[in-house]
Symmetry: C2
Amino acid sequence: MLKLDPIDVRQSASAADLVFEALRKAIVEGDLAEGEHLRQDHIARLFNTSRIPVREALKRLEQDGLVTNERYRGTVVAALSSAEVEEIFEFRALIESEIVRLAVPRLTPEHLAEAQRHLQAFASERDPSLWGEINRNFHYSLYAAADRPYHLQVIRSSLDRVDRYLRAQLTLTDGIGRARAEHQAIYDVCAGGNADEAARLTRAHILDASRSLLAFLDQRRR
Amino acid sequence: MLKLDPIDVRQSASAADLVFEALRKAIVEGDLAEGEHLRQDHIARLFNTSRIPVREALKRLEQDGLVTNERYRGTVVAALSSAEVEEIFEFRALIESEIVRLAVPRLTPEHLAEAQRHLQAFASERDPSLWGEINRNFHYSLYAAADRPYHLQVIRSSLDRVDRYLRAQLTLTDGIGRARAEHQAIYDVCAGGNADEAARLTRAHILDASRSLLAFLDQRRR
DNA sequence: TTAACGCGGATTGGATCCAATATACAATTC
DNA sequence: GAATTGTATATTGGATCCAATCCGCGTTAA
């Protein structure tokens, strides 16, 4: 009998899924400015599809808080107030420090090796547009050891909302320098197996970025 | 000149919004069993509408994790494994204890009065089908004082996922009795202004329900 | 007997068409 | 000239239609 690798041939990505992922990525990475109108017809043409899958994608983005919709007026990229940004960073500090605490006792050499790769990439990468992605990967490589899929999902969702601001903050004077130093410190205590200290440093790292970012936002918005 | 109260006449609820809310409520309250198929055409007829708004509602529910969708195979009410239920309760224990810690110093007499009303309703209500709603309201009346909209939104979302299981747990032997006692204890320390103790009791309350529920689920699923 | 095959209805995904509403701008009135 | 009104166009929300896929069931062949 013929034997083949049982690859799932079912293409699970519908047009709506593709549009959703593309728009999500564009918003998270800051390629779509906050307040920008997302016209159904325009997006549909970009993807060579009709407005139906576009509308489904926009509904999903709305549910994630990445866009807002007003009936008959359309969908715009969500804009966050300083207070909202601050609250989300506070939330991240709470949950990400806890996930690190859970992760540290479970860290394997493989986890640490991957984290170190991202650490080095972060140190050597010159292109600021890549820092955000590397930053995410570094933290996620540690969080993965916690083996808490729901927590990770919530972390992803909360970071998605503020990542474009965070990426702007990284490019500020000293933003990248402090991030590098703090990452190294977090990595060191993780490798040393000190869960409480890793949690404390992660919390401080997030709140530090928050303070720097809010100072920048408040200044820019005046 | 004619003067009228400037009421916003714009009806913000689209058909998709109404369908979404109705389905969400039905799933959260356990009226739709896990694994049940949600046929677009059937739902559309129920609401006297076409399948288009139904599909948008289903996409939003999927984004919230309340249903799962497989291409060309349809949408079913999500079923959670015991491990997933356990993780979500662990998550709730973390974030709800923290929100209580933030809320206590900000509690006004009005907040406490509302919490006490829910406490009494919880104590006197005979109809088990209403316990879940009252339970939510009691906790939310305390959480509201924290004034953290994003945290509250995440709390709502996580509770939505497990509320149908929690409601089943409340009707178990002693489930409602322990919940009543623990609510009273939480209320007392909140009214006394002891934030740390309120957080500790909230955490214990959630983990207590989790243990009881998991024992029940593991037994039922065998 | 049973497993593979194929057909037809059921269901979902997507395209196109129509209705409802908003917005920009010209026309009009004071 | 400014405010208001009417109108044309753009855009969204929803309905209907078509295509792709799944699934149950009967048929057939080994």
